[in-house]
Subunit: 141 residues, 2 copies
């Protein structure tokens, strides 16, 4: 018997992950620039809370490739290489404040894009080269 | 003059990205399993809306490494290799329905974990080996 066409609900994107060559360095970058609060801070993983109910995971590269197995179950291995991409939502009225904050920290805006719906995206690189986008409303909606 | 200690607000995680060896195949996997609606569907990118105001991007591997430059600006290159990781939130009462849906489709649950706060995570692999987690409340909160 097959499932009905409609799957159960997905309530949101809970976690996304990056992998840092030097976790302390990359975590410091995110903590300082964004003021993110760490829910977990270990040599293997720094987990930052973003807004409500989203978590941004930064793993030490090489520390997650093996399965984790303990009395609670099994977390299969994962890893990532490359200039991964994620986007964070910012308010339109904060765009200039973000430009200023990046400039003051010597963080280069490596790209900027004006979307047909009116949104503006600023692109920066984190210490591992990940492509981080700060996007105002008017990109997808 | 330095910025005040508090940065402007981050309103949420807007986008996260995966990179597919065969975009049509991987996009079909997500569309069929989760019923995600595509906001964009091209040979380069399928963008799925997840819940409210989050977008899950699946790029054709190899198609995003160069900068995109046009009259609207510049989107710098990005790419990812490896078994990347992201997590989606599900309701506790839907856990068995998800198990059933995965079983009916022959999608193996490659790991399962019971978190100290009571949440349960199911782990599956997408066609590219990405580690996808379906998590009930009680993981971080």
């Amino acid at each position: 018997m097959s499932s009905p066409p409609s799957p159960p609900r997905i309530d949101g994107l809970l976690e996304t992950s990056l992998y840092a060559r030097d976790l302390a360095r990359t975590a410091a970058f995110y903590r300082e620039l964004f003021g993110f609060k760490a829910l977990v801070d270990t040599p293997r993983l720094v987990a930052f809370e973003i807004a409500s109910r989203s978590v941004f995971l930064v793993f030490q590269a090489g520390a997650t490739e093996d399965d984790v197995v303990d009395g609670r179950g099994k977390i299969p291995g994962h890893e990532g290489v490359g200039r991964l991409h994620l986007a964070l939502s910012i308010a339109k009225e904060d765009l200039d404040a973000w430009r200023r904050r990046l400039f003051e920290r010597g963080i280069e805006i490596v790209g900027e894009y004006r979307w047909p719906r009116g949104g503006v995206s600023l692109y920066i690189r984190d210490p591992d080269g990940a492509l981080l986008e700060l996007a105002t409303p008017g990109l997808w909606w």
